[in-house]
Each structure stands twice: as C-alpha cells, then as structure tokens.
Subunit: 419 residues, 2 copies
C-alpha cells in the first residue's frame, strides 16, 4: 500500500516557532554533496579531514568498552554525563587553566550544538534581543532564531566583535541585550580571534547590561601559532557572566556527538532537567570512547597531531589563494592562527550564492556568505574550510574556485552552465 | 584557583520556559541509585536488563565499521539520518505492515525522546491545549510542558485513553486540543494497551478537531502474547493525522540513542531544519551499529529473544505480587501483554512518594505515581519495571516492597527509618 504523504501540510497547526523554523545551509550541504555524480572537493562543511581520526585507538577502545562495561555502555547513562568523562574534563580544565571547577557546574551534551540549544532554551524569550557576530555560525544563529530571539548581528573587526558598536546600538535605544553569542577563537566563519582587550571589554559591557555571554569555543585547542588567550569563562573569574560551550567535534569526532557546558550550578541543574526531555542523555558509548581517549593520553597526542596537519593545510590554502587569486583586484581573505576556516571576500558585486552552483559544477563546494547571517547580506563573501580536503586537493580546489569565478563573472550562472 | 559558582542565580534572566522547566524523576533516579551505598534492586528506570544486550554482535559490528568506514562513522552524517539505516527502517515497516512509505517521510532522531521534543517544538504554542493519558510517560509530559503547552491528562480505562471523556471535556468548553499524546501499546507506565476500537475512535476525534495524534510506541515489538494491533499511524491510512515516534531504546539499546519519526514529508522537512540547530545529526556510530544489526538479521533475532526473556520476567513479577501482596486488601496491579512495566495500586491512603525512601532503604526502588502526572495525584500508586532486574532478583524485590509497605503503614517514614 503506497500512501502519498508528500502533499499533506498542516496549515495553521504549527507553533509560531515551528512556522518560522530556520535550518542550516551548511548541514544541508552534506546531503547535497552526496547527490553529486561528479567528484567534488568540499570546502563547505566544517569537518575534520577523513584522514584525521585515530581509528586504531577508537577500534581498540571500543572493543575494551564492550568487553568490560558493555551492559553499562548500552544502557541509559546519567543525564549530566558519564562520571569518568566529567571527571576527565574537569581535570583537563584544571590542568590547562588552573581553574578548580565544581563538578555540579558541568553537563555533557550531544555535541556543542546541543549546548547552544540548551542555553537558548533556558534564556531566550520570544523577542529578546540577542547579539551575535556578523558573520556567525549558521546553526548558532538558527538556535537563537528558533527560540524566537531577536538576533542582532554586529560586525567584526580584526580584534573580534565590535563591542563599541554594541554599546552605541543599545545605549541609543535605551535597551539592553539578554545574551551575547560569540566564538572568540578562530571564529566560525571568519577565522578571526578576539583580542584579550576586546574580551575584557565584552565582559564589562555584558555585566553592565546584566547579560550573559555564551562562549562557543570549538576551535581553541587548534592553535597553530601565537599565544593562546584565556577564555572568556576564565577571564570572568567565577562571576557567572559566561556560559562556556565546548565540544570534541573539531578536535576529535563530530560523528560521536559529545560536547560539554561549564556554567553556574543553578543553570546546570536546569540544563539537566531540560535535557531529560530533549534526549534523556548523551549517547553513552560515544562518551565512554572519549573518556578513555582522554584517560589513556590518546586525545592530547591526537590534538598535537591535528595542530601540525591543519597548519600545513592552512598554509597550503593560503599559498593557493595567493597563486590563483593574488592578481584579482578586490579579493581578500583572512589568515587565521588556528581552527578550520578562512573567510574569502570576492570582488564586488559578486553574488556568492550564484557562484555556488557554478563552483559545484566545476567540482568545488564552499559556503556562501549569506548562510552566516539571519537577515541576509555578505553576498560577496564565503567560508572556506581548509581542514577537510586532503593536502593534495587544496591547490586544485582553489584553482577550480578561481576558474568558477571567472566563468561566473564572464557569463553569469546560466551562461556558465551552458559552457 | 577555586571559584564558587554554586550560589550564582540568574534572577529575572531565564526565559519563561526556562523558569518553569520540568525535569524527570525517572531519569534522576539513575543518579540517585548510583549514590546508594547498599545494594538496591531497581524496578525504577525503564531499562533493558543488563543481560539483554547482544554484546558480541555489537563488538564485532563496531570493529567492522571502524575498519571499513571509520572516517565516515566518526564524521558528521546527514541530519535526516544514515542512508542505510533509513532504508532498513522503511523496509522493516513495509515488511511488518505492508506500508510503502516515501523516504522523505522518515527522520532518524537521538532516541524517541528527541522525537517527542521535535514534535512539541514544531506544534505546541504556549497555552495550546494538549491531551495526554493519565498516567503518562514523565519525560513526554515534561516536553509538552517545557514548550509551555497546557497539558490536560485524561484517564485510562482497560481499553486505553477515555476518548469519550476527551470529547465531553472539549465540547463542553467549545475548545479543541492541538495534540493527543498517546502510548498505545503496553503504555508507560500503566502497561495498558489501547483497543482497536478505541484507536479508531481516537483518530475520528482527532480529525474532528484537526488535531495531531503523537503516537509514541517504544514497546510495540515486545508483545508476549495476544495479537498485535495495527498502529495508529497505519490505521490513519496516510491522512497525516498521526506522527509516529519510534525508538531502539527498549528493543535494543537506550545508550546508543537511536530512534526515528514517521510523518508527512512537509513536517519531516521542518524537523530536519529544527534538528540542525538542536544536535546537528544523530550520533553516526550508533546509527551504523543499528543499521548493521538490522541488515545482518541480528536485530529481529534479538527481539525474539527479548520477548521470551521479558515474558518470563513479567510472569515472575506477577507471581511474586500474588505471593507477597495477594492477601493485602486494596492492592491491585495491571497484567500487561508486553512491554516493560506494570502499574501497582496500594491501599488507600498510601503515599508512594513517602513509601519510596523506605523502600530504597530496604533495597528496592520504583517510581511513585505522581511522577506520571503534570499536576500531581495518583499518590497511592507506582510503576514497577520488570525487565531490568535479573530473574533471580524479582521475587526478592517484591518481598522487600511488601516489607517496606508494612514498615511504612505501621510506623510512617520517620518511624521506619528509626527501625
């Protein structure tokens, strides 16, 4: 029996948040790429490289888990997270920053994304003003939007979020924001790192508004050069201004969906309650794999290896950009000190959303600028991920992008497709 | 440096949903039990038995996945789910029910819990009337409540939800509900199965209100006796009245967090967008393990084995209840034809929340009745899970419960603790 469930709509039956739900061009790009019949080099989604996993360690550890604690790993775990993993995370934080954090201030989440979702759920009322960077991580923006926050994106300069611009905006209106959503290290998508001074200014401003700073830091451990800056969470010195969202998706594996949050105990208590009716607990096998990778010292060695490999990839992409785009006036790109991405600006009046299908046809994918905005804009820019392509693919990817740009600039989308 | 983040509150900074967030006594019981220093037999959380996992198959399959597709399994997957898993789920549905469902009508979720969360997020506006059974699954109720739905619980009789009572309630008020949340098979917590006639009546009533039926069916495959009834989703014959939430948490593993939803294509499209900003995708390793268990025929054999073992456990619990409580007037319990739970009613005026700590002290845990309500009530009842304890523990658990009841009835909580 074949039913046609394709044309059924629910007019008037969605909630107002459901009516306006916003997805992610980035995440959808994965299914889009899978549908292509010709080989495409992806600079689109922010993925670790296919050669960047400690497969043998994961295989061995998974076998050990099944042998020694299989019935526990396959059953429900505590909502706040696997005990060994939580302990390892607190120890790692203490070792890296000297902070001795109460275990009740940490909850394990299903990736960093669920961390953002939990914060928005607990804090954002429909219509609440929330500040994000322009550009910013699509899914982070979507979460704030999907809880019906009024997302205001404020531009970045080379020191990070323009705190002065935020202050002027709100002071002029006699208003104040509920939340600042920032990615201080090797920002997604711009690659820019917020300076120490700017971090301190942001904390001051947030405190003056009694606003919370949501610090999303997936990339901080992946610094290739220069000195690491203290996190906003550390700079806050326990005042409760900052909720820190962390993840293993960039330093180890996105597919296992393991992240964590540091926040005041009262907030974590509410997060545990909220998570119970969101997904009960984070997948236990994934948590135990991460806990063992940490406990056995594999994780820290692995991160050292990634820093080395991703630095090489970044360097290759910068060289390729210089080679293929260096003589094209009006083009520029950022030079991130770590992370996954750089931000490419094409000559005006490029429309990156129209360049995208041309580039896809030519065998290279990236994410157009408007995906990093709530309102649109940044049309002549795009995000390039340098970690996912193989070393041997990077120059070719940028060559294809340059060729696509030439096709698009000369013939437009239809003209390029016809050639 | 030790910071005291324990006493920081966010007065006036939570969202209204965050302010009223409702957790789960059931999920919290897991951490509570872990803190006990004496041995406790748990009839509390709805867990598969510790001896109920196909460990050797999982170990072997996980090794194969790491060897053959490790880099894919550890990276992001499509938000809608692993392609092989989605295909296997649709084939299994076709085989079991004859339904040929469009692949665009299925999304994989992080357990059944996220399925409920997605439905509530897309459909429930603050204040919307939503109907649930009385008693009903705590976390399902919490999700509806946490999106600020106005949850109305309507009592069950031995045929399931009292559809006539729903009709009278809404017609009297000239109102109509947005959603009916039901667990038709071996209901959590009552163990009651909704009759075929009642299913058809519910669909009629829902259609008359243009309401959606959210069919939560974690237990349907675990029928020990009697004939399987068609799902509400199947009985709806493609009209789009029903959204079906399914999971492997009871038939295989809760710890892997893999479930799925069947719904009209337009709804699934919105769910994909919503999930992108909730947790990006379901953990890929877990999905691939489930997909291989299905493809290799392990899953169907495993479910046959569970039916046999859980039936034995149910029978033992029914015998133990007869033995230890049979002569206690005012006591009754349900006799489920499958699933995980039975519902125990103690003599009036028992307060199960006060009996709970006495029982815990005596070495047995269960879930008191009020946990299955939004407003409280059902104080003289509780849920007993018969699948988690070992065969050899069941009689002892019920003996301890009877002894605890005697202590509590004779001496009250303090008196019992003093003994």
């Amino acid at each position: 029996m074949k039913w046609d469930l394709a044309d059924i709509a629910y007019p008037g039956r969605y909630s107002s948040r459901g009516q306006g739900i916003m997805g992610s061009f980035i995440d959808s790009s994965l299914s889009l790429l899978a549908k292509q019949t010709h080989p495409v080099i992806s600079l689109a989604m922010g993925c670790p490289g296919p050669d960047a996993f400690p497969l043998e360690d994961v295989r061995r550890i998974t076998t050990e888990i099944m042998e020694h604690e299989g019935p526990v790993a396959l059953n429900y775990g505590p909502t706040e997270g696997d005990p060994l993993l939580r302990q390892s995370l607190l120890e790692a934080e203490a070792e890296a920053t000297g902070l001795d954090i109460d275990p009740d201030c940490l909850i394990v989440t299903s990736g960093g994304m669920q961390g953002l979702d939990l914060v928005a759920k607990l804090l954002v009322n429909p219509g609440d003003p929330v500040v994000a960077e322009l550009p910013s991580y699509s899914n982070g923006l979507a979460t704030l939007h999907n809880y019906e926050g009024n997302v205001l994106q404020v531009s970045l300069d080379d020191q990070g979020l323009s705190v002065e611009e935020c202050r002027r905006y709100f002071d002029r209106r006699g208003a104040r924001p509920k939340l600042f959503y920032v990615i201080p290290n090797f920002q997604n998508p711009s690659g820019i790192t917020m300076s120490l001074r700017r971090r301190l200014e942001l904390l001051d401003l947030a405190r003056s508004y009694e606003a919370i700073v949501l610090e999303d830091d997936p990339y901080g451990d992946l610094r290739f050069e220069g000195r690491a800056l203290p996190s906003l969470f550390a700079l806050d010195e326990g005042k409760g201004t900052v909720i820190a969202v962390r993840t293993f998706s960039k330093t180890f594996s996105p597919g296992l969906r393991v992240g964590w949050i540091l926040a005041p105990k009262n907030v974590v208590t509410k997060m545990i309650a909220a998570k119970q009716s969101m997904d009960t607990c984070t997948n236990v096998v994934g948590q135990k794999i991460v806990a063992q990778l940490m406990a056995q010292g594999v994780m820290s060695r692995h991160i050292l290896r990634l820093r080395h490999e991703y630095r090489q990839k970044r360097d290759l992409m910068l060289q390729a950009l210089e080679r293929h785009f260096g003589s094209l006036g009006g083009t520029s790109w950022t030079r991130p000190e770590g992370g996954f991405f750089l931000w490419m600006t094409f000559p005006e009046p490029t429309d990156a959303e129209k360049l995208f299908p041309v580039a896809l046809e030519q065998g290279v994918a990236f994410i157009p600028g408007p995906a990093f905005t709530v309102q649109g804009g940044l049309r002549n820019a795009g995000r390039l991920c340098f970690t996912y392509p193989l070393l041997t693919e990077i120059d070719e990817a940028i060559r294809r992008l340059r060729y696509s740009y030439g096709l698009w600039a000369s013939f437009g989308v239809e003209g390029a497709a016809a050639r």
